[in-house]
Amino acid sequence: MQVRDTNKDRRGIGTLAIVCAVLQLAIAPNIAIGNGRANIALVFAACVALSIGGRQGVLMGFLSGMFFDLSTTGPIGLMSLLLTVASFFMGIEERNRMSDDPLGSFTLFAGVSFVVTLLYHLAMLLVGQASSLFDVLVLRTLPTYLLTLLTFAIFEYFIVRRSGPIRGKHGGGRYTLGKM
């Protein structure tokens, strides 16, 4: 029976958090297509939710969303709300879905990411921080979504590569994010 190593989880989450925080602050602002930039906070929340899930995934989603809100000029609480809900749904199975089913994880993330990005930018339009629907959909949502998807693919590749194959029928209970 696999025993969950919470210390390993925390170390893994901590390392991933630092990497994503640096990327969100230092690199993401300088890589843009149109007005869109990669949402590294969403990538971090998804990595935790799809690798661990449950309460930890939800908490990390909230904190990464809050980090995103504080580092931008948008309203505080918007991204944290979206990532809290997104992390809950992505991590609802509380298993290492990323290693079990990378393609399925990627597909799930693609859908969740699109919804999160779209809702965020529509909310910005509603609060008056964006000027037109065309600008929101084409110049912000679409490029942000594509860059975020690409970033997640890179992260997933490295996480899956490090964690290796999963033993056992269900694959549940092995939290390999700690191996980072």
Binding site: A26, N30, G57, P75, L78, S80
Partner: protein
Amino acid sequence: MPRNLFGLNNGPAQFRRKNSDNGMRLALVLTALSLVLFTFSGRESGSGPLTTIRGGFQVITTPARVTGSFVMQPFQGLSNAFANLTADQETLSELKSENEQLTARNAELEEAEQTATRLQGLLNLQDTYDLQSTAARIISGSTDSWSSTVTIDKGSLSGIAVGMPVTDSAGVIGQTIEVSASSATVRLISDENSSVAAMVQSSRAQGMLNGSAEGSLQLTMVTSDKTVSVGDTIVTSGLGGIFPKGLPLGTVTNVTHNAGSSYLDIVVEPLVSTENYEEVLVVTSLTEDQQATADDISSADAQDSSSTSTSDDSTSSSTADASSE
């Protein structure tokens, strides 16, 4: 063991995980918290505790941002190139047009800057030598190949008269020789008919600065016993009451003493090329300080006397030699 929609085990309780709500309760709490923060954030509009927290966060994370910006500098050109690839034709045309306008404007501003510099030089000259003068602009050069003249845009209506000295920011350039109502002709010092009373600034040796057909300047009537060196500055002597005393004329480029001659052959280079004259000052009157003093006149007379006696002595000795033979 079967799982329900939310992944919870439906088996015996001892096999069920303690945190079996999959974080639902936590998600609800944090969702409510996020909504509250979002509401308060929207109400703050620029000042409040949340804004303060954000400000502190920005300060703490500034080093990371700066580092990232520095690291990404080499790659920013690539992203700009990509953005440029997607620019449409209208944008490119607008940018091209704006570039042309800015280039023309830049050329105008550079010209204005140079004009301002020249005018400032004229003002400095005017202040330095306390010149009673009128500013004018050169509007054309010589129309024939026999004379070195320029035409200025001021004439008798502006108080200009024949015989007035004309200077630019560097020094004397010539003298008015013809005046109409709204323009005047200035004979340059390089003209072969020009002759200006001058002296070597360092040794005070008096002479006449003459122009030539080829445009060079010669300082004549300087006796061979005077000290003149290459690089010496030649200035107006003020003798004759035409040119103010002490205005720069040129610098010595060659000094030759021919055997049997009482005078030095001195070649002078003007300070400014005639092609660069643009804004000038016409000296309309001289103050007492700007004219040659009685000492200057007697010094010049003494120099003339000594050169005359030297030539007389050499003539007498040659006559005596001829008689004795």
